[in-house]
């Protein structure tokens, strides 16, 4: 694929969107009360960056995201390895995982507020619960679907079960684990933002909800832009890690 054309057209596309948005407002086709306009949003971002408000709320959200997602990685990998290795653990965990996976967890936020207080801890808990399930499920699947040839080869060279787990099963399941992390990143970020809409924590989502309540469209969209950037950075960062971890693999994975 030629690399230049897509990049160029992508830049053009953003430029056209921003330009026509601004123009439509200036020509009076759109009411800036509802849509704001790019220049006003840029000015708001600059003002918030200058006063330190932007850095503060971004830092709060980022900390919650890292805490929730980090805990989800640790717990998800542990549970996933256990469930992938021992059938009985998998059967015992299964119903709970499916419930947590399909329940609208945000509905529990009043309970979390009771248990953990109004603020960051509740946000972290919701973000954790949303992102832990795909990591657990994918890790377990990765270990469970270990190719029998690999297993037999390791066994016939006298590998003990522990060796098989650490030296064969875990490395072989890296692609599945990374796929789980990728799903988890999105859900962790959703968890942070949605929980912040309901629970004031000083983060970006709370800022959207607060400004939304005051009908301050420009400030609302400014925070939204920061969330978009955060989302893109997280997803791209994970793709970079993924291609690095997978570079030793010569054939198609799995």
């Amino acid at each position: 694929m030629r690399p230049l054309k897509p990049v160029l057209l992508g830049v053009v596309s953003f430029a056209v969107i921003l330009f026509s948005w601004e123009a439509a407002v200036r020509l009076g086709w759109l009411n800036p009360f509802f849509t704001s306009q790019p220049t006003a949003i840029a000015a708001a971002l600059a003002r918030e960056a200058g006063s330190g408000e932007l850095a503060r709320s971004a830092a709060v959200s980022l900390r919650e995201f890292i805490a929730g997602f980090g805990a989800a990685i640790i717990v998800g990998l542990t549970l996933g390895v256990l469930a992938g290795w021992y059938r009985s653990v998998e059967y015992a965990l299964d119903p709970f995982i499916w419930f947590v996976y399909s329940a609208p967890l945000i509905a529990f936020y009043p309970l979390f507020v009771l248990w953990l207080g109004l603020g960051t801890h509740t946000v972290i808990a919701i973000s954790f619960l949303l992102s832990v399930t795909p990591i657990t499920v994918n890790t377990a699947t990765g270990i469970r679907t270990l190719s029998p040839t690999l297993l037999l080869a390791a066994r016939s060279f006298g590998a003990r079960p522990r060796d098989v787990l650490w030296k064969v099963a875990l490395p072989a399941s890296v692609p599945m684990v990374v796929a789980g992390l990728r799903l988890g990143v999105g859900r962790a970020l959703t968890g942070v933002v949605v929980a912040e809409l309901f629970v004031p924590s000083g983060g970006l989502g709370s800022s959207i909800a607060y400004n939304g309540g005051l009908l301050r469209t420009t400030d609302m969209l400014a925070s939204l832009m920061v969330i978009v950037v955060l989302g893109v950075v997280c997803t791209q960062g994970l793709s970079a890690i993924e291609s690095r971890f997978d570079s030793w693999r010569t054939g198609p994975g799995l």
């Binding site: 609208p104 529990f108 809409l197 309901f198």
Partner: protein
């Protein structure tokens, strides 16, 4: 077998711990209370009205997402120039939690059903577009070339080769979209609404009526789980 035992153990300890005052029943409720709350709610009558409201919002938003998402995705997959233009903003939206748009959608469409339908639509249309687009791009070139060398027109190729070959990917998008749509309805109704299941959840949650709250949450979970399971079955059938 082990699953049943695990669930039974969990329910038993959940029932017994509050009775022994190991945990405060106000925080956790008890399975028996949840059961009687369920009976209450089913007899009460507002459940059917709320469920009907939420279901119609869900159905309208998801139907719109299907009707718009599949053709747009297929088109983006077919025409590279169009894809290069739309891909960057689309990927930015894909990486963003779309529920962050909730407050601005409420500002535009108000607190009624319109804003919920829009939230469901946006949440589910994006995975459908992205996966349909990927599906078309995954169609193997030899298939297309073979069809072309047998004098198939572009339209024939699209209808007889590209469409069937990308159907499994489209189905994955539909399944992802379904679970997002369910979450979207509930969160949007919780954020601001006057009726619907999410509105009930919000009211019960603020009043800390844990037993009634759990009944609604379990209903939504069962609904979401049922839909995704059905979609998975359909996916397996399509893939064959």
């Amino acid at each position: 077998m082990i699953s049943t035992v695990a669930v039974a153990l969990f329910l038993a300890s959940w029932e017994i711990a509050p009775r022994l005052r190991l945990v405060d029943p106000f925080f956790t409720s008890r399975p028996s209370q949840v059961l009687s709350a369920g009976v209450d709610i089913v007899r009460g009558g507002t459940l059917w009205h709320d469920a009907a409201v939420s279901l119609s919002e869900f159905a309208a938003g998801f139907a719109l997402a299907l009707a718009a998402g599949v053709p747009i995705g297929l088109m983006l997959g077919t025409f590279p120039t169009l894809r290069y233009l739309v891909d960057p903003p689309l990927m930015a939206l894909y990486a963003t939690p779309q529920l962050a748009l909730l407050p601005i959608i409420v500002l535009w469409l108000g607190i009624g059903m319109g804003s919920k339908i829009a939230v469901v639509f946006i949440g589910s249309v994006i995975p459908i577009v992205v996966n349909s687009m990927a599906g078309v791009r995954q169609v193997e070139r030899p298939l297309v070339l073979a069809a072309r060398s047998f004098c198939a027109t572009r339209r024939d190729v699209f209808i007889k080769v590209i469409l069937p070959a990308s159907l499994p990917a489209v189905m994955i998008g539909v399944r992802l979209g379904l679970s997002r749509a369910v979450l979207g309805v509930v969160v949007a109704e919780m954020y601001v609404s006057q009726e619907g299941v999410g509105n009930q959840i919000m009211r019960l949650g603020s009043a800390f009526r844990v037993d009634h709250l759990l009944v609604y949450v379990l209903l939504v979970s069962a609904f979401g789980l049922g839909l995704t399971t059905a979609a998975r079955k359909l996916e397996e059938r399509v893939a064959r």
